[in-house]
């Protein structure tokens, strides 16, 4: 790779600080006097500027803003993630039907190009729904980022809400990396997806505070090995709260709603069951 690569590698761990903390080191200004430790490069007519900035720091800054705005309005936000078709919208509909009468719930729908998911939720009991299509820019974005959520929040009456559910774009990779200002992260996994998924998508499974294992009404018809899945899940995320559920039959929906309802009453820490 490059000759002096080792000269700054010692800085990379930053005492184990989590990369989501934003800028992991003070940015060195571009003036040549500030880059003396990389003076080897001046001989080649180049100057190396040390940056050590988290790629997501700009996103995280907006996410922090979003989180503060939500907190100021007394709204707890849950980022709901899954692969396409795992049943996020169906679970959400059941959630709204069950809780919508007692908790003022706003829904921020991330969808690549349509409002079909939001249409499914109509009349189910949400106080307000805001749709964010992610197809601005080139191609449809595969996730919601903090700026998209910020604009979606502007169309929601935050002062009239207790809970905001952010339904992310169906995808097992990208949404996990982009904080949007949520207070907790929930993941919906369908048993039709296969036992190995936690090992293939550890970033997503590690990011979740709670994993709803959905479509368990289908278990008798599948070769899905639930114990193997749970063991895989625990190996990548030992702290995750696990809820077995079926949005279709309603099983587990009460436990999920209890978890959601509890989000308003405490700062989120990984629950021990």
């Amino acid at each position: 790779m490059h000759a002096d690569g080792t000269s700054h590698v010692h800085e990379r761990d930053h005492d184990g600080r989590h990369p989501h903390d934003g800028v992991t080191s003070q940015v060195v200004d571009g003036a040549p006097s500030d880059v003396g430790d990389h003076s080897g490069y001046t001989e080649t007519g180049q100057t190396r500027i040390t940056i050590l900035e988290n790629l997501l720091s700009e996103n995280d800054r907006v996410a922090d803003d979003n989180g503060r705005r939500l907190a100021a309005s007394g709204v707890r936000a849950v980022n709901l993630m899954s692969s396409p078709g795992a049943g996020k919208t169906a679970l959400l509909r059941k959630t709204l039907e069950r809780m919508g009468g007692s908790v003022r719930i706003g829904v921020l729908e991330g969808d690549i190009a349509t409002s079909l998911d939001a249409d499914q939720l109509e009349g189910a009991g949400a106080t307000a729904i805001s749709v964010v299509n992610t197809s601005a820019g080139f191609g449809g974005e595969c996730h919601l980022d903090a700026v998209m959520v910020q604009s979606g929040m502007e169309r929601l009456p935050l002062s009239d809400l207790d809970l905001l559910i952010i339904e992310n774009v169906g995808n097992l990779v990208c949404p996990a990396e982009f904080r949007v200002g949520e207070h907790a992260r929930a993941m919906v996994f369908a048993v039709t997806e296969g036992e190995e998924k936690p090992l293939k998508y550890p970033v997503m499974f590690r990011a979740a505070d709670v994993v709803v294992v959905n479509k368990i009404d289908l278990l008798p018809h599948l070769d899905f090995d639930l114990d193997l899945f749970l063991s895989n899940l625990t190996s990548v995320n030992p702290q995750a709260r696990i809820i077995l559920a079926s949005a279709r039959s309603g099983e587990g929906v009460e436990e999920w709603c209890d978890w959601l309802g509890g989000q308003g009453e405490r700062e989120l820490t990984h629950s021990e069951d």
Partner: protein, 120 residues
Amino acid sequence: MLPDEVQVMHELSICRAIASTAAKHAEGRPVTQVTVQIGHLRQVVPDALQFSWEVVSSATDLKDAELVIEQVPAVIECLHCGAATTLESPILVCGACDGSEVKLLSGEELLVVSIDLVDA
């Protein structure tokens, strides 16, 4: 273990973040190299990142900049026995005692380390 189903979209998003971070610090000066550190747990495929970089940078002032990717292994420290384990797969289990209460020391990096500028 290679995450074979990971979409290239992921790398595109990351490249856009790299480009905007690098451009912000370059302040219009010509950049020859951008060095990033990517932790193994980020599931970034280096070839896909390089490909995405060409797509993303070609439309910007960074089109002549080479992307250098430093991959950072995932290392955990066991909270029971204190052993450090470098992971070959994303299974967070101590290599010495099989304990699963571990602290992640590295592997989640997504950093722009440096940019190289042509001296004026």
